[in-house]
Symmetry: D3
Subunit: 189 residues, 6 copies
């Protein structure tokens, strides 16, 4: 238990169906302490589906994996391809980095970063998704490595980013990390 | 679309059933761009259920809301009731705070905090859950307020905590915040 | 074939459930030439039902049988209890009797009837319903008997009434009958 | 609510499936005051179906739309193509027109009509179906126009026809209209 | 896989439901090489059920376990309570014992047995059922012990009985055993 | 009642599906006194199926009909094709014939038979299966004909064989018959 049956219009690709059944199983197990062996999910494709006075010819589109969208955005940023990165952003995108000021342009971010590090790279990234219906929130955490403004190197500095993703577009990014903490320790040393 | 039917053994309280259907709807909508109006979830209670050679008399226990577990733990910590807070921790609990060192005892945390702030309080907390099957990860973010070691006050400092929750017990806590960043800004000012 | 499963919130009385399964079977057999023996309909009551962001506590109300509403209205009219009859009418009720003029008040009908017959009675009534979603149309046919204005009696005169019923209220009545035809034949005789 | 699942053998054309789901939704809403948005119907095609000791290879045939059968019959009658019209009739077909006499041959109808009008045409036809399982009853109403025996024209005269349709054949026709009423009014004028 | 859902009218006792789900799982696994862990069967009780023009108030009666019926009959025979044993027999009961002659009365059996053994007892009985729809066939096998006509004892002699059971009554019994084989061996010795 | 729905991964051949639905119907009717007309079984093929953390691409293999396996084995034995017969046996196969000794090799059986009959043939075979989950037991009964060691012929002698079949291989054979009984009668005559 439980047994979860999902009724869908036909046409969904295998990959989307796999994602759906795996996520539904995980979600059910967040509420009920059921073994994975006892958690069954299957998809039945209907022949004809009618709701609200209409017979539907096709179901809603498959949403891209929000984590993959974030990963692609971060890859563009890592390679400083701001044009490509911009394509992942919703028009009302905003971002908040340590210190808390709200920025809306990737170019603002460049300015914010300048006094903080000469270059930076995210490593060992792990993604976690929070499925919230109208949006999916992606948390990406890992370790930063790069170069301080004085040219000395750093690595292994913890970070976590939070992204709000709506229909495959990033709407908001929040960033936390230990850069200031570690910089302070460094300057104390 | 989709229509999701969940087959459960009887006996689950209304609250757990509500949580389950809401979460399954949210999860389905993380994969398929379906309207909320077109996303139907219902629970059917079976009369008799058999799997793996056994007839089950009752389903798995209801898990507590992981967010509520975290909220209760944080409330205990806020009131410095370490004994009560300890009751929420799994035996192998570990925590990582800014600077990255791994701590296992709440008392260690007290020592870690001493040079950083005289007192601290989490405010405007928002919880987000990532349902992962064997565990649920809870992200709690908000703003910190408190007093620096020198007695001056601070507030509005961003934080995010990440908790791994397994069967209602906290297994790990990771903490990020802008304290060092803001302290540095303060010292620069 | 077919097998029709209806998922309902609990709480519907047995009578409504019986009406529902019988009607669904009849309707399915209006499209598919299935034997009655091979047409199965059953109702499953769900434990929890969620759509459009809400968990529903109860399903929609049971609608009264439209034919019974019409029969009660006609009984009131037969006993000239216009007050009681009025209670079955929607505010925008209108009726069309032979000759085609639109009337809105039962009192108008009395005036219309005066030159046509001294008294009249519907007999051998048969009701047929057309299920149309937002409304149900009831056809009532049978034979009229009564007294012509000259005091002579008539009987066995065919009639059919058509009623539009929305949520248990009559919205429109259309009446056809052979009174004029028979009166003409009588006057020819 | 409700959610209606129809299990069918495969092979039914899309048009029949659409008719079926729409009708079942309408029918459910004749019993329960459910919104159209909340009324879901879908068809699941089975892989193998067994009842009464037999595995069925195909489901019952699709019945033609009873309203369309009636419309085609009336079109043949309108163009006085009695041979084509006859093809729509069951062997035991009978019809009852104003005055109430039972006729079995379309030629009888011609004789009945002769003294009543020189020519006649149905206009603004609206069809309504009553799904009754073994038969479907079709009501067709609208307005008559034509020419009186004296050559003067008439139009806008209300009529309603009732047809019993069994497996696509007309078994009975009952006709009511205001012709006599209007003729009488005309002769009074 | 597979997942088997059984829709029943309510009212079946837990024991019957358990028997049903266990048997259906076993049966499915006689056709498909599915693991027991992956074979799920559950029962859903319907609220209202309609077939063949009728709404059913209750499902078919629960049949007694055919093996238990046979075991009770054999216990009566073992204690030579022919009256009680007779109550398990259908009116057209017949039995065939080694040598092949058909007997209809338990008293005939006594005569048949007389020259073969002085007393006899079935031991270590194992029952197996063959579910055939209109009837269930029960095979009971085990070992015989008893006394030869000459007073010497025997034991460990293989037997198998086959019973046809229809609605809880025995319709036929066929008996095979090694008594003659062992008697022959004994007489050879 | 009952209505049994079987959810399978796609890919099962029609023959296996027919066997499955027929057997499930028979099995349900071994517990509930339901008419065959009222026992509906159908198979729904899922689009995607997930259990125990895995999405399954295909269901378990179809098992051969245990009765057919036994029939083929017996045909090989009838034609004394011991090599072919051996192919039907599991490595741990054992058999028990009248007198009760356990044999493991078909050649042992030849030795056992030598003093009992010169040749033998099974006729009028009827197979019955007992579905037990991990194994299916097949009972085959009928009549023996052949030649006694002295060359005289016999026929019409009752037998029953019991076979344990696991995944299409014979694991055990138990044999009972009236040969000794009839030989004894013959020698008495």
């Amino acid at each position: 238990m439980p047994v979860i049956s999902v009724t869908l219009l036909p046409g969904y690709e295998s990959d989307a169906q796999h994602r759906l059944v795996q996520r539904l199983a995980q979600t059910a197990r967040s509420v009920i302490d059921a073994s994975d062996a006892g958690t069954t999910v299957f998809i039945q494709e209907v022949s004809t589906y009618r709701r609200d006075g209409r017979v539907f010819e096709a179901g809603g589109a498959v949403l891209p994996s929000a984590s993959e969208v974030v990963a692609q955005f971060l890859a563009c940023m890592a390679s400083r391809d701001l044009v490509a990165a911009q394509a992942f952003l919703a028009p009302n995108f905003e971002m908040v980095f340590p210190s808390g000021q709200v920025m809306r342009q990737l170019s603002e971010l460049m300015a914010w970063a300048a006094p903080r590090y000469r270059r930076i790279e995210k490593t060992q990234m792990v993604y976690e998704e929070s499925w919230q219906g109208d949006q999916t929130v992606v948390y990406c955490r890992g370790l930063l490595k790069g170069e301080w403004p004085d040219g000395s190197e750093f690595s292994g500095i913890r970070f976590v980013d939070r992204f709000e993703v709506i229909k495959g577009k990033l709407v908001r990014q929040d960033v936390w990390n230990d850069l200031a903490e570690m910089r302070a320790q460094g300057s104390q040393g």
